[in-house]
């Protein structure tokens, strides 16, 4: 409920100014505070921040406005290549200090991506659902293949980008800006128009909502943020190549949005961090006997089938039950692993590095089977919601006249 009757405290200008000031202060200190961390950790933090921007901006298009966009990586790429191209051609010529160059190149990336977003968004006016999905995916692939074959853009090798600029403060600053913009939008009546388009286009049009313009704007704003993130990525990595923006990236982004709960901004943030971090954390998996690997999916499948029955009961019990199921899966998996170990060939070790994506895939499937509406469903992690969880009666049951 973004427009509940009681007002929110950011109404007051001083609250807003203070929070902006506070955030800026913290951001500027972040790089210093985290300087002691090793490069790998810093890399994780920066990439996580970029994924947050991507997920939240995609959520604006998919979750809030209800358009099915599956090619978000394309906007990321447009921003990155724009920044890369500008850096390789203009940076030495203009010789600007980094503090000026970065915002400039981020804006440039955002604008380029916004134009791409405009082009991609236009077909959305005539296409629905799955058709739009494949068209957005298609645009992305076309752009990628064109870039792959373009000599100015370095063909398959990509472009080298210098200067190299790595800043946690900047990256998370962009992430916070993105989240703030989306949150702001949803706290105003303008944001309700976007939601209305998602809910029912025909009714929205009948109420005077400019449906076409709203849909296109969602694409433009969403892609602009992705483009800015791309610019940051380009300078962070020091190079750009089309391999970094494959279809897989688009799929992961859609997964992040859905997993967090379509439409939920905080959900997208949480899911982005989770889904990014889980595969990273698994880079160091030990070698495991084959038996245990087989045990896990069997256990999950066996226990999660229970979800087919509808469970009617208080939310707290449902969480307990889900927890029980997960624990049961783990126990069953270990047990099965021990049993299967007796079969011939089941003790061959499998390299840990190969397991990473398999575990990720299994986790994904299990999460969707357990909680298909996403972690936060349509809620936001906000004070309102926490209050409601603590027992203030939620006004969500049927009210009769």
């Amino acid at each position: 409920m973004s427009l509940a009757i009681h007002r929110n405290w950011t109404q007051f200008a001083w609250v807003r100014l203070l929070s902006v000031g506070g955030v800026l202060l913290v951001l500027s200190q972040l790089d210093g505070l985290l300087a002691g961390q090793n490069d790998f950790v810093k890399r994780l933090i920066i990439l996580a921040g970029l994924y947050v921007v991507l997920a939240v901006s995609l959520n604006l298009i998919n979750g809030i406005t209800g358009q099915f966009s599956m090619g978000h990586a394309a906007f990321y790429m447009v921003g990155a290549y724009t920044a890369g191209y500008l850096a390789s051609t203009q940076f030495t010529r203009l010789n600007l200090p980094l503090t000026l160059w970065m915002p400039l190149v981020m804006v440039a990336g955002a604008i380029a991506a916004a134009i791409a977003g405009l082009i991609v968004g236009l077909p959305s006016l005539r296409l629905r659902g799955d058709y739009l999905a494949i068209v957005t995916l298609g645009f992305g692939e076309i752009l990628r293949i064109v870039a792959n074959n373009s000599t100015e853009l370095g063909k398959a090798f990509g472009l080298n980008v210098s200067p190299n600029f790595r800043s946690i403060g900047l990256t998370w600053g962009l992430a916070i800006l993105c989240v703030a913009c989306c949150r702001n939008l949803l706290k105003t009546s303008r944001g309700l128009q976007f939601l209305a388009v998602r809910e029912d286009e025909i009714a929205s049009a009948a109420m005077g909502v400019p449906v076409t313009r709203t849909k296109v704007l969602a694409f433009v704003v969403g892609s602009a943020f992705a483009g800015a993130a791309g610019a940051v990525l380009a300078h962070f990595e020091g190079f750009v190549s089309t391999a970094m923006f494959s279809m897989d990236v688009s799929f992961i982004l859609v997964t992040m949005v859905v997993l967090g709960g379509t439409g939920s901004i905080t959900g997208s943030v949480i899911a982005a961090v989770l889904l990014f971090y889980i595969p990273e954390a698994m880079r160091e998996l030990p070698d495991t006997p084959m038996a245990r690997i087989l045990g896990a999916p069997i256990a999950i499948v066996a226990l999660l089938r229970r979800e087919q029955e509808r469970f009617h009961g208080p939310a707290r019990q449902k969480w307990a039950r889900n927890l029980g199921i997960v624990l049961g899966c783990v126990v069953l998996a270990i047990a099965l692993g021990a049993v299967l170990a007796n079969l011939p060939g089941m003790n061959t070790m499998v390299q840990g590095s190969k397991l990473r994506m398999v575990v990720f895939a299994i986790t994904l499937i299990a999460l969707m089977l357990l909680r298909p509406q996403g972690i936060l469903a349509h809620h936001e992690l906000s004070w309102d919601w926490v209050q409601r969880l603590r027992g203030k009666p939620a006004p969500t049951h049927e009210v009769s006249a």
Partner: protein, 255 residues
């Protein structure tokens, strides 16, 4: 007397089927006008023609003296025609209050940048719209459930919500598609009074489709009757009640 809405030989054809055939009627400002007829007569199709969902195959539709045939729905809303739907089309995940605010956005738009930056202007407009929405909810007696998810309301309440949402667009002409469907007699009485208040206090002209004869007869000042896409009778309730063609259409006399 000036005419607010005029249909002149409005016709729409879907392939071989003529859903609305040369229908003519006029509505004057401040009238409570009824559009009735047996099922499949083309009443909702007329609504769809007026509100721009369909483009007339031939004939014209005038609103405030200007032709509006084929104009898109959002432009029609901006010109001052709002509607409710036969199969309720609320914004299901939004709350009651939010549904009405969406209607109000039409007359008080917020710029995108102001919204993204949460500028004072945007906040002001949102607050004003919130207050305005509450006022409309009071008219339809839904202010006590303003924060309830609209999908969780009972059927009758959902219908009233749709009316409030349409009113929020501040239309000159309000089209109600079967507003009394599924209501009990007491609710219908309240609805009757509500519609009168909408006309009297807010100056909106009302055109409604309804099946309940008694409701229509006691509320509407002038009625047009459709059957199989054609207009078979038009006039005040007293005349319509006695009209043999109308009776035949509803009761199905042997030809």
């Amino acid at each position: 007397m000036t005419t607010l809405l005029e249909l002149r030989d409005a016709t729409i054809r879907f392939g071989g089927l003529v859903a609305v055939n040369k229908v003519c009627f006029e509505i004057h400002p401040g009238q409570l006008f009824g559009l009735i007829g047996p099922n499949g007569a083309g009443k909702t199709t007329c609504f769809n023609l007026i509100t721009g969902v369909y483009r007339p195959t031939s004939g014209e539709i005038f609103f405030d003296g200007k032709g509006i045939g084929g104009t898109s729905p959002s432009v029609i809303a901006e010109k001052g025609i709002a509607r409710t739907f036969q199969n309720i089309r609320l914004f299901k995940s939004l709350s009651v209050l939010e549904n009405v605010v969406v209607g109000g956005c039409l007359r008080r738009p917020t710029g995108l940048f102001s919204a993204l930056a949460y500028l004072p202007k945007a906040i002001q407009i949102t607050d004003a719209l919130r207050d305005e929405a509450l006022r409309y909810l009071k008219i339809v007696h839904l202010d006590h459930v303003a924060n309830v998810r609209s999908a969780d309301l009972s059927y009758g309440m959902q219908r009233r919500l749709e009316i409030a949402r349409a009113m929020a667009t501040q239309p000159k002409l309000l089209l109600l598609d079967e507003p009394a469907a599924g209501m009990n007699p007491q609710e219908k009485g309240e609805l009757n009074a509500m519609v009168r208040r909408i006309r009297d206090d807010h100056g909106m002209t009302v055109l409604l489709i309804e099946h309940d004869m008694r409701f229509v007869m006691t509320l509407c000042e002038r009625i047009v009757v459709l059957d199989h896409g054609e207009e078979i009778a038009q006039g005040p309730p007293a005349e319509i009640r006695e009209d043999p063609k109308v009776i035949a259409a509803y009761l199905g006399e042997a030809h």
